[in-house]
């Protein structure tokens, strides 16, 4: 029994399914996130699968600025993810609103709506940096699932 529980625990960081939500990004960050999945970076090496459904996701990758309309969507998606879960914000926009911080319909970074576990700076961050972000997220994931 203990062995099974251990296996489950160790499996957690080996099978992070991620969902990507574009929260009003300029696409720069999104295409770099997508690039992570493609042959050259192939994050499936780490068991990472891009799922389109919050109910199947462990990691939520969010890019872009939060505005009044998409903040509700963001909150919905986060709520529909089963625990344990982590959020990785990518790009200047996702981190703070970036260059658009002062634009009229911008609320700000992702952490204004949901708690963020890893911040990946860049505009857009390179795919390698996004992988780093997911790795950092996974560390938090491991901590959370122990708790």
């Amino acid at each position: 029994m203990q062995a099974i529980l251990d296996f489950i625990k160790s499996s957690r960081i080996k099978s992070p399914w991620l969902m990507h939500f574009d929260c009003g990004s300029c696409n720069g960050c999104d295409i770099e996130t997508l690039a992570c999945l493609t042959p050259v970076y192939d994050v499936e090496r780490f068991g990472i699968v891009n799922v389109g459904n919050p109910k199947h996701a462990d990691i939520l990758i969010v890019s872009g600025t939060v505005n009044h309309r998409n903040k509700k969507v963001l909150a919905n998606l986060y709520e529909q993810m089963p625990h344990p879960k982590v959020v990785v914000a990518i790009g200047a926009c996702g981190l703070s609103g970036g260059v658009f911080r002062e634009a009229p319909n911008v609320v700000g970074g992702i952490d204004k709506v949901i708690p963020v576990d890893a911040y990946v700076p860049g505009c857009p961050p390179k795919p390698e940096a996004i992988i780093d972000g997911v790795v950092l997220g996974l560390q938090k994931f491991a901590e959370k699932s122990l708790a």
């Binding site: 990004s25 300029c26 999104d30 295409i31 493609t38 042959p39 658009f100 002062e102 634009a103």
Partner: protein, 358 residues
């Protein structure tokens, strides 16, 4: 007959960007589609009030990361026209090289996403694999993969060395060969044709009436391309717009496939004819007046309306992006299709919501 009403987006795995369609289907046949926007709206045009006209270059680049270079170019051309600045020739050619490289990467990206829309995963991966070479060229020559920031009012910020030009040429050969190898699959495979031929038909009359732009327009047989306006160095390059007559998703795909190769060719032409000279000229004064400029984005005609008032800040910066023009045709194309065709047709206009909503 019983109807299913479902939200397609804002978060949907086939859409990298948030757009919402309220779909009404009967046995998976779409009977009604109503779009909802606003998930990406930032209001960035309004930033011209608090950022000077030079800073706006970086901001309009971020209208959309995929053709950032071309946005900046269009904007700079507008300001230059308003201020009467003549850009050095070398800068004009370099602008063409980078903008056509952007078109190559954008079209490859689209070809991949389009393949994904009809569930051809291996093809998706293949195109994205090829695309990485173009991204490497971007990164090596501009310092960034996606948002390259090479334009400035008055010229360009980076140069290409002779060695770099040779390297680009070699890399592009590989890219071209690999893209050509996928022609039969992209345009002639039975399963692909089944999913794209005759799906989402837009006649040329409809396309004109609904204001379609870019490959969506050219896929309906209207050979109109803003590069015919001969901005930048296009007056000194061989260029003929590509069009296909059928107006279906397949035609739009064929246009983009051919344009990928065409753009590689244009890069080569520009590299071959690249003149020596300055990269930029010093810009003096403050923009005043009105100007309308247009360039061809990977997704079609891009229009900037700029109005200066003699200060460092513009009075109005209005951006009409190609996807904005292609949304009405999309809404018209959807009814009567199968649900499975919705991603295909939505992707077939190469939607870019961040540019639509800015």
């Amino acid at each position: 007959m019983a109807q299913t009403i479902l939200p397609f987006g804002p978060q949907h795995p086939v859409l990298p960007e948030p757009i919402h369609l309220k779909l009404t289907v009967e046995d998976e046949i779409v009977v009604d589609a109503l779009p909802a926007l606003g998930y990406v709206h930032r209001g960035l045009e309004k930033l011209c009030d608090i950022r000077d006209y030079n800073q706006m270059v970086q901001i309009v680049e971020r209208v959309c990361g995929i053709c950032s270079k071309i946005h900046a170019m269009c904007y700079c051309q507008g300001i230059e026209e308003m201020m009467g600045v003549e850009v050095p020739d070398r800068a004009k050619f370099l602008r063409v090289i980078w903008s056509e490289l952007h078109r190559v990467h954008s079209h490859l990206l689209w070809l991949g996403l389009f393949a994904d829309a009809f569930g051809f995963e291996a093809l998706f991966y293949q195109f994205w694999k090829i695309r990485e070479k173009v991204m490497d060229i971007n990164e090596a020559t501009t310092g960034n993969r996606v948002i390259v920031s090479v334009n400035q009012v008055g010229g360009v910020r980076r140069d290409l060395s002779a060695e770099q030009l040779r390297w680009i040429d070699a890399e592009l050969k590989v890219v071209e060969a690999q893209v050509r190898a996928l022609r039969a699959t992209t345009l002639d495979d039975y399963t692909v044709k089944k999913r794209t031929k005759g799906i989402g038909v837009l006649s040329s009359a409809q396309a004109m009436e609904l204001g379609a732009a870019g490959p969506t327009l050219r896929g309906s047989g209207v050979a109109q391309d803003m590069r015919q306006l001969k901005y930048a160095a296009f007056d000194r390059l061989d260029f003929q717009p590509i069009s296909y007559p059928d107006g279906d998703s397949w035609s739009r795909c064929a246009v983009r496939y051919d344009e990928t190769l065409q753009s590689i060719d244009l890069v080569r032409q520009a590299m071959a004819r690249l003149p020596e000279g300055e990269l930029s000229v010093k810009v003096k004064g403050k923009p005043e007046g009105e100007v309308v400029t247009r360039v061809e984005q990977p997704r079609g005609e891009l229009l900037y309306y700029l109005k200066g008032n003699g200060t460092n800040n513009l009075d109005r910066c209005r951006i009409r992006t190609p996807t904005f023009a292609n949304i009405p045709p999309l809404v018209v194309m959807l009814p009567g299709l199968e649900l499975a065709d919705v991603p295909v047709v939505v992707l077939s206009i190469d939607p870019c919501i961040s540019c639509t909503e800015r």
